[in-house]
């Protein structure tokens, strides 16, 4: 018994030694230095982390993002990987709990030594993980449209910051619908409040319009009867909404039940993507508008290929919302930066991302380019929802410069 044990161990050791010496030879021959960054890089693999909520209340939203990241990584691997190395995924569950995000980030960076992490969804989870990424010098690709007011060396933001999403949409509704009066309503936390602050400044100072009401409801609230009556009393030209999560469904169902429909009332929302429509139901949204940078219905060959590949991998019934597409960009942006830097080293990848004008020419949403401030130049689109849960784009802006610290809007 004992001798057998020793024997098999000995063979393993021999094998490992052989592997190491072989590997070392190839390493010297092909890409010197790439493996010596202290990250989990070998001659044919590089490890990355995916960190989203697979359980808990946020799993609804984050499922699509992690599916898109896996699709991008699979496609990159099929093309031969990055610097000749296949990407290996280590997936962790943030469990909709913000301290867990910090803890799992530390595990990914310190124990697994991943070269990059694709993850987080809510601002709260990002804020919790951020100190870890800054301390351990990790690299996070963050996919959600968010309130701005942040720029970390260790984060690349692939969604829109607030001014990109808000200003173009408000300009459109003022011009196209002649809107003068606005009723602002959102869920009660940082993203809607910051967004509404920017919207109010823009409405009052730039568009010369008037905000006739501003209201925040607790997260998870399902009763909108009183607010709807207030709105009816104020008769705004536009209802401007950022209600999130389960509340969103109640909000739109009750609007429809109260006879406020897309036929009579202009409503522009910041928080409805194709993902939310599954719950809300197309019939409750018909005729209302969303402002986002991406819609599944975008009519261009890159998007069609993306939608097809996504459905092949994750099922015919899956839908793709704004954040899902932004999450898909993360691995591609990382690939472009790593290849240009010739290294997985975080400092080098960040430097290239800031200075080299990393761009994706054929992203599903169209051309995007990294700005030195770590956000993306992107277009903003307004689309009208149809009964079938898809949206028709009615307006498309030019490329908008990201401006996470907008002067005059704070």
């Amino acid at each position: 018994m004992k001798s057998k044990f020793v024997h098999s161990n000995w063979r393993k050791l021999m094998g490992a030694a052989l592997g190491v010496s072989l590997g070392a030879n190839i390493g010297i021959a092909s890409a010197a230095g790439v493996n010596e960054t202290g990250l989990a890089v070998t001659d044919d693999t590089v490890k990355v982390g995916i960190l989203h909520s697979l359980t808990g209340t946020m799993a609804i939203s984050e499922t699509g993002a992690q599916e898109a990241e896996k699709l991008a990584i699979k496609q990159i691997n099929d093309m031969g990987g990055i610097l000749g190395r296949k990407i290996e995924i280590i997936q962790e569950d943030g469990a909709s709990d913000w301290p867990t995000f910090a803890e799992k980030s530390r595990k990914l960076l310190v124990k697994d030594k991943v070269a990059a992490v694709f993850g987080c969804w809510t601002s709260a989870s990002r804020k919790a993980a951020l100190p870890v990424f800054e301390k351990e010098n990790g690299l996070l690709y963050y996919p959600t449209f968010y309130e701005g007011l942040e720029q970390s060396k260790n984060v690349i933001y692939t969604g829109q910051e607030a001014t990109q999403q808000i200003l173009a949409g408000l300009d459109w509704v003022a011009k196209e619908k002649g809107a003068k009066t606005f009723y602002l309503i959102g869920s009660d936390y940082i993203w809607p409040r910051t967004s509404m602050k920017i919207a109010r400044k823009h409405i009052e100072n730039v568009l010369g319009g008037k905000v006739v009401g501003e209201e925040y409801k607790p997260l998870g609230n399902t009763q909108f009867g009183s607010v709807i009556n207030k709105i009816r009393l104020k008769k705004p030209d536009v209802i401007y909404a950022a209600v999130v999560g389960g509340s969103n469904v109640a909000w739109f169902k009750q609007l429809k039940a109260a006879g406020i429909t897309g036929k009579k009332q202009t409503l522009l929302t910041l928080s409805v993507t194709e993902d939310e429509v599954l719950g809300i139901g197309g019939e409750n949204l018909e005729g209302f508008y969303s402002v986002m940078k991406y819609f599944q219905s975008l009519d261009n060959p890159n998007n069609k290929a993306f939608v097809k590949a996504f459905k092949e991998m994750h099922g015919e019934d899956s839908v793709i919302g704004d954040v899902t597409q932004a999450a898909y960009l993360g691995p591609w942006l990382w690939k472009a930066a790593v290849e240009q830097a010739g290294s997985f080293d975080v400092d080098k990848v960040v430097k290239v991302s800031e200075t080299a004008g990393i761009e994706l020419k054929d992203a599903p949403e169209g051309y995007v380019k990294l700005h030195p401030n770590h956000h993306l130049w992107s277009k903003t689109r307004v689309a009208k929802w149809n009964k079938d849960g898809q949206a028709t784009v009615v307006f498309e802006s030019d490329l908008i410069e990201p401006n996470p610290f907008p002067e005059g809007y704070q």
């Binding site: 009867g225 009183s226 389960g246 169902k253 039940a257 006879g259 139901g281």
Partner: protein, 306 residues
């Protein structure tokens, strides 16, 4: 502000209905819990999850009828409510048999056990139906609004929940106060040993009471699919409001539950109209806390021999 009298009247009417609608929602949520808490002294932390069972039952029937009997979609909702009652009731019956009955002498442990049950049920929902929230397809007669005049819109789903709450409450009253079974339940509550001595099967009474409470939670869940969406954690959204209504009303009294639901709903909806939603909630909760400090037993209480 410059509103005509007609407009003010219309808003007044609609706002009044908003309050009544919230009242019916709160009452429907709380009824099942009030029965279980009031008659058995068990605090059912999984109450919200039994509501979710009803909501998911409705969703499944909606999917099934869309798939196999498209013509049936206008009527399935009625059957969904009945099915929700039965399925949630059966699950409640089993939960009492497997779990609750072993813990009657340890009230704090029932709290923990039913909380554990709620977590298990949430994970089952997540594994079976996925993490995304779902909504059943509603029949046309539940969508839109009733317009008595040009300016007044009364939501049809609100009217529906109101009517449903009325009938369920009426049913519970008849069952509790006019039927032989209700007599046995009340007898067991008042004096378990004596009831047992005169031949009442108190164990079966407990089991059916728990099943009834859970079944009513199932009805509430089915009804709320007309208002909001259903996800694995939907139940935990409702549980706080539900407990608030039951505790404020006085744990052992159905009248108290009704009065409590009415006053909370009216306070909430009137305040919401004049100040912001979050502040309205704060003021309502503060008022409840103050009243409970003065009357710890709640609005109404029945004296029970312990």
């Amino acid at each position: 502000m410059g509103y005509s009298a007609d407009e003010m009247m219309a808003i007044f009417a609609m706002q009044g209905f908003a309050g009544i609608s919230l009242f019916s929602v709160l009452l429907l949520m709380a009824l099942g819990l009030a029965i279980i808490f009031g008659q058995m002294g068990v605090i059912n932390m999984a109450h919200g999850e039994f509501m979710a069972v009803g909501a998911y039952t409705t969703y499944m029937l909606s999917v099934l009828s869309e798939e196999f009997f498209p013509g049936f979609i206008q009527y399935y909702f009625v059957f969904a409510i009945i099915a929700s009652f039965i399925i949630a009731g059966i699950l409640g019956f089993l939960a009492e048999f497997a779990l609750i009955r072993h813990l009657y002498k340890r009230p704090l442990d029932t709290l923990l056990a039913t909380w554990g049950l709620s977590l298990i049920m949430q994970q089952v929902f997540r594994s079976v139906f996925g993490a995304r929230e779902v909504s059943p397809t509603l029949p046309d007669w539940l969508l839109g609004s009733y317009q008595p005049t040009d300016m007044i819109d009364i939501p049809l789903n609100g009217l529906f929940v109101l009517a449903l709450t009325f009938f369920v409450t009426l049913g519970v009253f008849l069952l509790m106060f006019k039927s032989r079974w209700g007599l046995r339940v009340r007898a067991t509550t008042q004096n378990r040993v004596m009831s047992s001595a005169v031949g009442i099967n108190t164990k079966m009474v407990d089991r059916l009471t728990f099943a009834l409470g859970c079944g009513i939670a199932g009805i509430a869940g089915a009804a709320f699919t007309t208002i909001a969406s259903t996800g694995p954690t939907t139940g935990s959204l409702y549980i706080v409001d539900t407990f608030m209504v039951v505790v404020f009303g006085g744990a052992a009294s159905l009248f108290g539950t009704i009065a409590s639901a009415f006053s909370i709903a009216q306070a909430q909806s009137i305040l919401e109209f004049f100040i912001s939603g979050s502040m309205a909630k704060v003021i309502t909760l503060l008022t409840i806390v103050i009243i409970l400090m003065m009357r710890p037993e709640g609005l109404f209480s029945i004296k029970v021999r312990k």
